[in-house]
């Protein structure tokens, strides 16, 4: 009995300390997405180039959906990664040009290169709300059935690609086999 009354509070304290210690390393800026394992929201919009685009135009394979804007500096940081991915044909990338002006978006793509199969123009941010976007850049991993499987907030560089996206993609491929 005497031992229990000593060790029980100590164990309780250690458990709480561990929980709070872990909490110190959580990023409060990374909100969990509500759309994981849900289909991409329906849209009927135009691309930056002015062509009509709907869900039917999305790739029928695993692809990335990258939310970007010409005003967004971190987007420029992650841009080389998307250029490499599209150049070596690793994965198709679809852009969402979020709260931007199409003229600025077009000249941004011209200057820096265009890694996107196409960029959906979301000038007023309404499609972004359906996605649960709260600021560029954000990147979604979408499977062949058009279901969102993973979300990464902020810059997707080669490290994030290798450590987060490659395992997630491998998991999706194993699943469909």
């Amino acid at each position: 009995m005497g031992r229990l009354t000593f060790y029980l509070p100590v164990a309780g304290f250690l458990a709480l300390a561990l929980l709070l210690w872990r909490g110190l390393f959580l990023d409060p800026k990374e909100l969990p997405s509500m759309l994981i394992d849900k289909p991409m929201p329906q849209f009927q919009l135009r691309t930056v180039d002015g062509e009509a685009v709907t869900n039917a135009n999305l790739p029928e394979q695993i692809f990335l959906l990258n939310v970007w804007g010409s005003y967004c500096l971190p987007c420029l940081v992650e841009h080389p990664t998307f250029m490499r991915l599209s150049e070596d044909g690793s994965i198709p990338v679809v852009g969402v040009n979020y709260k931007d002006q199409s003229e600025l978006a077009k000249s941004w793509l011209e200057t820096n290169g265009n890694p996107f199969a196409f960029s959906i123009e979301d000038a007023n941010g309404r499609f972004g709300i359906d996605l649960g976007v709260y600021g560029a850049p954000e990147t979604y991993l979408v499977d062949a059935e058009g279901v969102i499987r993973y979300r990464h907030v902020s810059v997707l560089d080669e490290t994030v690609w290798a450590e987060e996206f490659l395992p997630a993609i491998a998991e999706l491929q194993a699943e469909s086999r």
Binding site: P28, M34, G132
Partner: protein
Amino acid sequence: MSLTTSFNSPRTLALWILMLAAFVSAEPAVHAQVDTFEFQTVEQQQRFRQLSDELRCPMCQNTNLTGSSGGVAEDLRREIHRMILEGMTNSEIEQFMFERYGDFIFYKPRLRMETLFLWFGPLIFLLIGGAAAIAVSRKAGRTAQKSPELDNAQREKLQAILKAKG
């Protein structure tokens, strides 16, 4: 010119005090938003105020939609305005926000399986603390009561000692 030299006449001093008073009494700008939404009724306008006060801006972490000038907050206010005009109820609008931004959007999270610990965790800690406090004070009470009572053998021994001394 230093500050002290500007107070050299009572008139300049009075002017300074007047300016200071005007500055202090000026109404602080409470609402950071500048957009002007039009409503059909006062009730709709009040609901808009209430909702954008109670919903949290997902981008700027610790401001509500009213106080935030962030891009997404502006868009969400516009959506709230649209939904109110379309005749959606407050709980429908809150559900719309929840489906997209999750519990984070609420300053007062909904009572769900995932938020049970958040709501009742403090109560559990209070109960544990309370139980511990009661257990400790009971134990202390028991030991305190025990000491003055002597059994018959001890009483006889005490009498013997007292007699011998007396």
